[in-house]
């Protein structure tokens, strides 16, 4: 708990997490407003479209998660941190925990905000099925796991530019370009982490390889593996 409290103080005593939080929620809710306001028939805008802006939010969360650790390397405070708290795995865990919790809150606020804005502008999509609930309430969970993965990548790469490039290029480009490979591309794509996360949220498509909850479990497992690798490397490496 001490470690979590410490990491919380560190995170919120700089500006960038505040900025990222506002941006993440603002983009998701803002895009939902834009979509409903420009729609000819707002009543029939579905949840999937309403939450299309969550991709923006996800990018912000990835960047925020990576920066939470790369700025420590950038400014040398990682050494101060390890000097104060020599248990490096615990520090990394506390940091991932705090950033993940923040991302969870941001995801929930953004998703329910987007849904609420849609309601105000006349969208009729309700939260009737469990799939609807997953699409909205599930966003926070996906954001939280993504933030943890981003902390892990940040800890491995240690440079903001490199970590952010890898995270964004992976999630925005590689996972989709993979499907262009003849024959096997689509099969590989089905097992990509962010594709799995989206499958949990609702974009299952026909004949999905995993059910929604199994997809989430798979995404969580990949995140856990990344985190474990990062923890081992951070412990071995000189700070």
């Amino acid at each position: 708990m001490t470690l979590m409290a410490t990491e919380r103080m560190k995170l919120f005593s700089t500006r960038s997490p505040w900025f990222c939080s506002v941006l993440a929620v603002g983009l998701v809710v803002g895009f939902a407003s834009l979509l409903t306001l420009t729609s000819n028939d707002p009543a029939h805008v579905d949840l999937g479209l309403l939450l299309a802006g969550s991709q923006f939010g996800l990018m912000v969360v990835l960047v925020m998660g990576a920066l939470a650790i790369t700025t420590e390397y950038r400014f040398g405070t990682i050494r101060t941190t390890f000097q104060a708290m020599p248990g490096r795995t615990a520090v990394l865990g506390a940091k991932a925990g705090v950033v993940g919790l923040l991302a969870l809150v941001l995801g929930e606020v953004a998703a329910f905000g987007a849904w609420g804005v849609g309601k105000v502008f006349g969208v009729e999509a309700g939260l009737s099925s469990s799939a609807d609930w997953r699409a909205v309430a599930g966003l926070g969970v996906v954001f939280a796991l993504s933030a943890v993965a981003a902390v892990a990548v940040g800890a491995l790469i240690r440079q903001s530019a490199g970590a952010i490039s890898i995270l964004l290029v992976w999630s925005l480009l590689i996972e989709d370009l993979i499907s262009l490979i003849p024959n096997v591309g689509d099969n590989i794509r089905d097992w990509m982490p962010f594709v799995s996360a989206r499958r949990f949220l609702g974009n299952a498509g026909p004949d999905p390889v995993l059910g929604p909850w199994a997809s989430l479990g798979y995404f969580a497992a990949i995140t856990a593996v990344l985190f474990a690798i990062a923890a081992v490397v951070v412990n071995r490496r000189d700070a």
């Binding site: 001490t2 470690l3 409290a5 410490t6 103080m9 560190k10 005593s13 700089t14 500006r15 960038s16 700025t71 400014f75 040398g76 405070t77 050494r79 101060t80 941190t81 390890f82 000097q83 104060a84 708290m85 020599p86 248990g87 071995r236 000189d238 700070a239």
Partner: protein, 315 residues
């Protein structure tokens, strides 16, 4: 107390620290002296568990740093004053440090007061001058009221007032019974600050001794004597504890002072054309000791004497 034994750090092909053993006692200011690039910072990072030694071991009061519970309560360190987030206020920086080691929040204000930063505690650390950053770093080191303190080049870039402040501060900390381990590349500074010295060059230990002894050895006087009767003079001076070296038309004598040489010469009716005491410069002796040109020995006395006797460091 800090005890290092056989501490070694290798980066690829270069040995940054080579089989280094030393101790820093409590109640003393121990200076860690060596030229830039000698391995001082690397050693300090290993003491703090930041870097893992390739070989060897370093303990603080018998424990590895990583095994200390709430380490800031045992060890305080200032390695680099710029290791703060520029957009975080001085108070916020100290607040998270305090929280991480269960140090009461009111201690933050105490240390801010102690280093004289209370007035700017709410300002972002990125806007601090080097002197202010240094004070903030010292505040962080003192936060846990630790028994052991490490400072890496704390006077670098400070104005004379700041240097004096730090010097007095370290003496006070040592007088309170703490272990103070402070690195510098300036012997003149260490001569004023430290009571004990650990001297390294190229990652290797050159000497561990008290500052007084080191200074005495480094500046041991020699006397240059010129005379038309050099042979007679040499035999007149020939006794225990006196070493004599020929330099053309003169002798360089150590182990006996100029007055005694003059008396001896007068008693033996030897004419003297010159009788001049030679003083070695502390800094030059140190540079010679730690520089590339010299092979390293732990026998500091002979080295220093030899260096001074060659005249190359004499003024």
């Amino acid at each position: 107390m800090i005890e290092a034994s056989g501490l070694t750090k290798r980066y690829g092909k270069t040995l940054a620290v080579d089989n280094l053993s030393f101790t820093a006692q409590s109640g003393r200011v121990t200076g860690f002296l060596g030229p830039n690039g000698a391995g001082k910072s690397t050693t300090m990072r290993m003491v703090l568990g930041l870097d893992t030694p390739t070989a060897g071991d370093v303990r603080i009061d018998g424990k590895h740093y990583r095994d200390l519970k709430d380490p800031l309560r045992t060890v305080g360190a200032l390695l680099d004053a710029k290791w703060v987030h520029p957009n975080r206020s001085a108070r916020a920086h100290l607040a998270w440090l305090a929280r991480s080691n269960r140090i009461p929040a009111k201690r933050v204000d105490e240390v801010l007061e102690l280093v004289g930063l209370t007035g700017v505690a709410g300002k972002n650390a990125g806007g601090f001058s080097l002197g202010m950053s240094q004070r903030l770093g010292i505040a962080g080191a003192l936060l846990g009221d630790p028994k052991v303190l490490l400072f890496d080049e704390p006077v670098n870039g400070l104005d004379p007032e700041g240097i004096l402040w730090i010097r007095k501060f370290m003496h006070r900390l040592a007088d309170e019974g703490r272990t103070v381990f402070v690195s510098s590349h300036l012997l003149s500074e260490m001569a004023l600050t430290a009571q004990e010295l650990v001297v390294i060059g190229r990652g290797k230990l050159i000497a561990q001794t008290s500052t007084e002894e080191f200074v005495a050895m480094a500046t041991e006087a020699s006397v240059r004597v010129r005379s038309p009767q050099l042979d007679q003079l040499r035999s007149a001076l020939g006794r225990d504890g006196v070493s004599i070296r020929d330099e053309g038309d003169s002798l360089v004598v150590t182990g006996i002072d100029a007055a005694a040489i003059g008396d001896l010469a007068a008693a033996a009716s030897i004419a003297l054309h010159e009788l001049s005491p030679q003083r070695g410069s502390l800094e030059e002796a140190f540079m010679q000791l730690t520089g590339d040109s010299v092979e390293y020995h732990t026998d500091i006395a002979n080295d220093t004497a030899a260096l001074l006797a060659t005249g190359s460091v004499a003024r």
